[in-house]
């Protein structure tokens, strides 16, 4: 399967199954599009008609270049990966390597669009005790098999409302990681309200990554991200984020925003983040019920798709000005990205990745917390829901009929199970709006790679 598209002045051809990316001229673009449907003579005659000024030898040369790539396994590569689907999960059955620790099911902000219902996940307010967190870390080490790198997210609600436990858990993990032969990588996701010098010092020392929630423009951010008195949080958190990022000295962080029906023109929010001095950015479409006022409409979607293209243009402009920035969804490592096993396995939710509630229950991921049907077990007694575990273990890109004909399937590996479930009632369903946005992001990300490669070659 190939995917051909034109963007940013480039003609781009992706060979889906080999992962090859080709930037081609107009003649090759047309020829590749018809290559499989026509004989050589038919194709050359058709091209001769369309490009009368091009000598026949030139057409033949172009045909030869396409054919050489096909023979070399870089064009029209057949999909032979289906038998490998599920192998990675089989190989690592029972291995858990990442936990999302819900250290606080409570929040000091009251954001109406929060998928976690203001941190409570449709349940009671609660914070995780050190004992529960310690048991979760022990559970992780015990179930991590030969995995060296273990990932732990401090998540909520607002995790800094339980900061002492976060600090104690990190200290505990550090005290056991050497003996256990593990390397803990911690992430903290915070709304910023409780950031102070102590938090900054701790986060910059211990967190591999910090995710800072900022929606961009003040009026956009303050529409949803308000305290319980209804006051916006932008003025209070921005200086704290700036201080934290400056002190971070280049270590990983993301400014993570959500865009909704009220700001489909999210590029303006990206620009605001840049103006504030932030360069590692992520903006996500809101996840909510279709009848929620925040939900993106079909009209919004058109704007969002256009914004993604403009964002790619802005990134190239900023590259040229020597002021580059990162957009999470446009990061793509074409040379050293994930192997095919990873690409067809899905995200790992419910198998190698689980969420832990403040009282120690296990769920397939943070987005399933609060839905009893998906409870997998707990950190004391282990997993005891083989039916749901089985569903997640067999969930891969080939388990989703709609993905079979999609060119982006090896970039998304079947998409988010939670989004699929909420949109269709099944984790092997497909959240079509999410897919549409994802495909546009991938087209932009690959165009950026092509443009950067071309611009580097010119230098």
């Amino acid at each position: 399967m190939i995917h051909c598209y034109q963007l940013g002045g480039y003609n781009i051809v992706l060979d889906v199954c080999s992962g090859a990316v080709h930037a081609v001229d107009e003649l090759a673009y047309d020829m590749i599009g018809q290559f499989e449907q026509s004989s050589e003579t038919e194709l050359l005659n058709a091209m001769q008609k369309k490009y009368p000024q091009v000598p026949r030898e030139e057409l033949q040369e172009c045909y030869g270049q396409i054919n050489a790539l096909r023979e070399d396994g870089q064009l029209f590569t057949p999909d032979v990966f289906e038998p490998m689907a599920g192998k990675l999960k089989e190989k690592s059955a029972g291995v858990i390597k990442a936990l999302c620790l819900h250290v606080a099911h409570t929040c000091n902000l009251n954001c109406a669009y929060c998928f976690a219902s203001q941190g409570k996940y449709n349940g009671e307010r609660a914070v995780m005790s050190f004992e529960v967190g310690k048991q979760a870390l022990d559970f992780l080490v015990e179930h991590s098999g030969s995995r060296h790198n273990l990932e732990v997210d401090f998540f909520g609600g607002e995790p800094l409302m339980n900061f002492q436990v976060v600090k104690d858990l990190v200290a505990y993990a550090r005290s056991i990681e050497k003996t256990a032969g593990k390397n803990f990588r911690f992430t903290l996701t915070t709304n910023g309200m409780l950031i102070d010098d102590d938090v900054i010092d701790f986060a910059n020392r211990e967190m591999s990554n910090v995710v800072l929630s900022l929606d961009g423009r003040k009026e956009v951010h303050d529409r949803y991200r308000v305290d319980y008195a209804g006051n916006g949080s932008w003025e209070r958190i921005v200086p704290k984020f700036q201080k934290l990022v400056e002190a971070r000295g280049g270590k990983n962080y993301y400014m993570r925003g959500t865009f909704t029906h009220y700001n489909p023109d999210f590029l303006n929010d990206i620009r605001q983040m840049l103006d504030l001095g932030f360069t590692e950015l992520s903006m996500e479409p809101v996840v909510c019920a279709p009848d929620d006022p925040a939900a993106l409409t079909e009209e919004d979607k058109k704007i969002v798709l256009e914004q993604y293209e403009k964002l790619a243009e802005l990134m190239l402009e900023r590259d040229r000005e020597g002021m580059p920035f990162t957009f999470y969804h446009y990061m793509i490592d074409l040379r050293g990205g994930p192997c095919i096993y990873k690409r067809i396995s899905g995200c790992g939710s419910g198998t190698e990745y689980m969420a832990v509630t403040p009282w120690g229950d296990l769920y397939p991921c943070h987005q399933f917390v609060g839905d009893e049907h998906f409870k997998l077990g707990d950190i004391w007694h282990g997993l005891n829901n083989p039916e749901v575990q089985g569903q997640f273990a067999s969930c891969n890109v080939y388990a989703k009929p709609e993905c079979r004909d999609c060119w982006a399937r090896l970039y998304c590996s079947g998409g988010c199970a939670a989004n699929a479930y909420h949109a269709t009632g099944s984790i092997t369903g497909v959240y079509e709006t999410g897919c549409e946005l994802f495909r546009k992001r991938m087209e932009c990300a690959i165009m950026l790679a092509v443009a950067r490669s071309a611009e580097n070659a010119e230098e």
């Binding site: 030139e58 270049q65 192997c339 095919i340 991921c365 090896l410």
Partner: protein, 53 residues
């Protein structure tokens, strides 16, 4: 005349030989939390680095 410029990419078919170590980051852990994409993940298998050389 060169009609096609091919970017250097990891060959996915070849990655089947040495891939599947499971050391790479779990998708969605680092930033998005509400979607899934594996394209921005880094391979952490030291064997696969050799595969590309």
């Amino acid at each position: 005349m060169k009609h096609i410029v091919t970017l250097k990419t990891r060959n996915l078919c070849e990655s089947a030989a040495k891939g599947g170590c499971g050391e790479c980051q779990t998708s969605c852990q680092s930033a998005c939390k509400t979607s899934c994409g594996i394209a921005n993940q880094k391979c952490e298998n030291t064997n696969s680095v050799k595969e590309n050389k």
